[in-house]
Symmetry: C2
Subunit: 366 residues, 2 copies
């Protein structure tokens, strides 16, 4: 990615179209070569333009987190969406799901007998077919049932009039150093056990969905026949520090300007301050991360603190502090949060701004 | 604050109008009783409705973080705004500042000779009067010069044709346990030293601006004649855990629904999962905080993890896990980030939704 185009005002989210295209193709090639389906999670980018590129590269459909996201992407032409979330379905949600189901193939997650019953009851008098995917906990310990409980959830869904078509899991514990391989193995075992029990109980399980960006492209056995990576389109500082992407695969940065610089004296650190803070970068910071993001062209710099409109950058001792007014590019820790903070992003190619893309699903939390 | 109104879909930001009004009046009364000016920071709420309430309660003007925020509030009638940020002013910024300066009193921060020179040069051929406030580092070590450097910055601003009307500091290091009193004392000393040096150098310093929600209402000496608290309108989990507000002063919560619950077995924790994650609550989490926010009606619960659309809540052993579908209210750690994630919020009074207010300055990072 080349320098910040002169006509861009900071702070601004920049998407490098060429790197984006390569990332989309590389993941599609790797996943399809394993004979499994790619259903990318579009909560990462929330942009219809990027979803279209993913579908054109061979994705079978899209994954979303909310009904609101599903509505945006179906409105833009998606015809196969999976809401990978254990929805608590009230009559309000049922009406929206039925509307979606009347124009697209729609699957929804569930992880309890009660939620399956509530969903079945709310949908019972509506048309529009909704498939159910049982969520399995493969070690992340967020939502999802243990594999041994999958059958009782599936049976309650069937009894409530719903069709169970598969299982899914999110190995979120893969987002830590040394964890991707272990998490991928746990994901395999959990999905395998759940599917085996469900099939023994007579369920026709066609979709077995797993995967995250850290685990999706890993070699080795997997019970999944579908994966749902999201972050791979852009890469971010978390993936970089986990070794799951390289610097030249970073497609999204936040352009920022040095507004304050201090050589440091006594207990005050040598630092510069950028005009991009948590209100555009996002403030996710896992304990193992080196800071609140990285600088694309200054691998030795560390973002030690993030206020709403300031990033404090501790500069390496062996290199000169950048001049005031210098424009730098920040690699956010977690791009999914960055994209949820802007209404539009600037698309660049060869150092030139070539388009503005709208983040149509920003803020669709419901 | 009473229960989540039945007609509200989750997740949703709720603002209790009655508590909000009391918070606004209490801070205004406390600050005005000390004979100093209140210039609330409206980056917290980004809502013209709340700014109007603050001005009606006696605020002399508003504080904002960006030119874009200033534009929104001036458009809604504000006539005295301070951009409390060390702007790097290009011709693009200068045109916008001059436009603002033609309809309102506008002050801008600076913390270096170079930034003052750049601002003066960019503004030199434009009409519209802009005042300069020199930013002082009182111990937070973000932006701001040490008091001993204030005169050289002020002199460069004057030489560049700008009018220096005061100094300001942000004691951000007050956001830690045991720190408010110490930070308030450091703020006093830093402002006092800078003002004394500037006056000795012949500057007519009329505005001495300090204060944050943790320090603004503290008793004791202060060199400031103006304070800029922001969070006090809503309160949040950080202020609660710092002892700077009480539970019945919490005016903003995020209404959320229990979508998953697990009694826990072996190494898997007893927990429930809410449908509000970092994309509506915000993911700020200082090391000293108990988690990623609190629950208003369940002080013993702890938000141990926040994904984009899930809050994982570890439930106290001595109390029953809430049923699926239960609606709870989350107190975010940092309300300024929460308000930047939604386009509107629901205003409640006596348990009833009475209005929807627009977050007009959301995303105005430039």
């Amino acid at each position: 990615m080349s320098a910040v185009p002169a006509d861009v005002q900071t702070p601004e989210v920049l998407i490098d179209r060429d790197i984006l295209g390569r990332n989309i193709d590389r993941m599609a090639t790797a996943v399809l070569a394993k004979g499994i389906d790619l259903r990318p999670h579009v909560k990462t980018h929330k942009m219809p333009e990027i979803a279209s590129l993913q579908l054109a590269a061979g994705a079978v459909g899209l994954t979303v987190a909310t009904i609101g996201e599903a509505e945006v992407f179906v409105q833009h032409g998606a015809r196969d969406v999976f809401i990978a979330y254990p929805l608590w379905v009230t009559p309000h949600h049922a009406r929206r799901l039925a509307q979606l189901g009347s124009v697209a193939r729609v699957a929804v997650g569930t992880d309890s007998v009660e939620a399956a019953q509530a969903m079945g009851a709310a949908l019972s008098n509506l048309t529009g077919s909704i498939e159910v995917m049982v969520e399995i906990d493969s070690g992340h310990h967020r939502s999802g049932v243990r594999p041994s409980h999958a059958v009782e959830v599936a049976e309650s869904a069937t009894a409530a009039g719903l069709r169970v078509s598969g299982v899914f899991t999110f190995p979120g514990h893969s987002y830590a150093p040394g964890m991707p391989v272990k998490a991928a193995e746990q994901e395999h075992l959990a999905l395998q056990e759940a599917v085996s029990l469900l099939r023994r109980a007579g369920f026709d399980i066609s979709r077995i969905s797993g995967g995250s960006t850290p685990t999706a492209a890993l070699a080795g056995r997997s019970a999944a026949n579908e994966v749902r990576p999201g972050v791979y389109v852009f890469g971010d500082a978390q993936q970089l520090e986990l070794g799951r992407c390289t610097l030249d695969e970073i497609a999204l940065t936040v352009a920022a300007t040095v507004v304050s610089r201090h050589e440091g004296e006594g207990s005050t650190p040598r630092r510069c301050v950028l005009d991009a803070g948590s209100k555009i970068i996002g403030s996710d910071r896992p304990a193992w991360a080196s800071g609140f993001g990285r600088l694309l062209d200054h691998p030795g710099a560390r973002i030690s603190a993030l206020s709403e409109h300031h990033a404090t950058v501790i500069w390496p001792d062996d290199s000169e502090l950048p001049a005031l007014g210098t424009r730098l590019r920040v690699i956010p820790n977690h791009v999914c949060l960055t994209m949820n903070l802007v209404d539009e992003a600037t698309v660049v190619s060869d150092g030139t701004a070539v388009a503005r893309w709208s983040v149509d699903a920003r803020g669709k939390n419901k």
